[in-house]
Symmetry: C2
Subunit: 198 residues, 2 copies
Amino acid sequence: MSNEVMVIRDPEVAKLLADDTRRRILSLLRLAEMTPQQLAKFLNKNVSSIMHHLTMLEQGGLVSVTRTEVRRNLVVKWYRAQARRFIVSYELAEGLVPGSEDYALKIEEKAKGAAAILARMTPGLSEAQAIELAELIRKLHVLWIEAFEKALSKSPKEGDPSINDMVVKALTAANLYRKPEYFTILKRLNELLGETIG
Amino acid sequence: MSNEVMVIRDPEVAKLLADDTRRRILSLLRLAEMTPQQLAKFLNKNVSSIMHHLTMLEQGGLVSVTRTEVRRNLVVKWYRAQARRFIVSYELAEGLVPGSEDYALKIEEKAKGAAAILARMTPGLSEAQAIELAELIRKLHVLWIEAFEKALSKSPKEGDPSINDMVVKALTAANLYRKPEYFTILKRLNELLGETIG
């Protein structure tokens, strides 16, 4: 595998992750080399649909062919994910890159969904506060990706993944400390969610 | 699958995750039902070793048999993980539960490994500061698991996983805000790591 983590900076590539089947294919190919036939069997889909998704993922640079075999005049290809983990850059989540508006909108919608769940759990929250909550959750998400991405760029690419993970977490935390908005967001989340927290 | 996330509170079960092959088996079984034969092929191990690991994982309640078939007088079993994600409780990471000292020690060792990497990246860091760094990373890790675990217990078990993930993140962040040590740790990490952060 080329990388432990790959940061996606191309909005067209980010859109590939919007599809559930493609996300499941990627998840499987992070763990093992597989043929389209094997993937089809595991995911209970037909082979031609899997091959279509694999072509898109390969063009986006998220998977690659690791080996090819000829079996009874048929070419069989094994695929593998290019990284163990994929994250979409904060620039796309903020809609800062042309073409990433869709992805930014998706994050906003998910944040609204999360706020709606939390609002149902929190008695006495006004509608205006629920809207504020959605925006806080969106900002927290983007802030966190930004800090994580920076931490990742400084972290070792080789070695024990669980130790590297701790390095990334420490650098992410130290990065977040440098953003005054981080504390403002946490403070306000704590105020709004009150007893729901724990 | 029974759960999205399972929190492991039994030190004996936590120890099962220490083995690399068992972690890889679990990762595969989170994504798809598989037989010991399929797992052996994917992980390039012999079937009897895989079966031994599966028995341990099944006894620990981490995987279960989803279906059984008889093929040419042989019983074939399909296994599946009991959750999409497993986390070890902060109580075990702190060594608060009898029998979890080994696991707590493992976390401590990993934190030391992470601190050593960061120390190499940070010129001018003294040996005493590197030791302090390891302890900060360990504490941050445990604090984060504790907050995450609490957040998880409040979060919905059903629905869109990526939205639930945002709910958990928001609750985790709000939880961390309530721990004064969190800010002390972030502040000190920021001081020690200085320019390394980014």
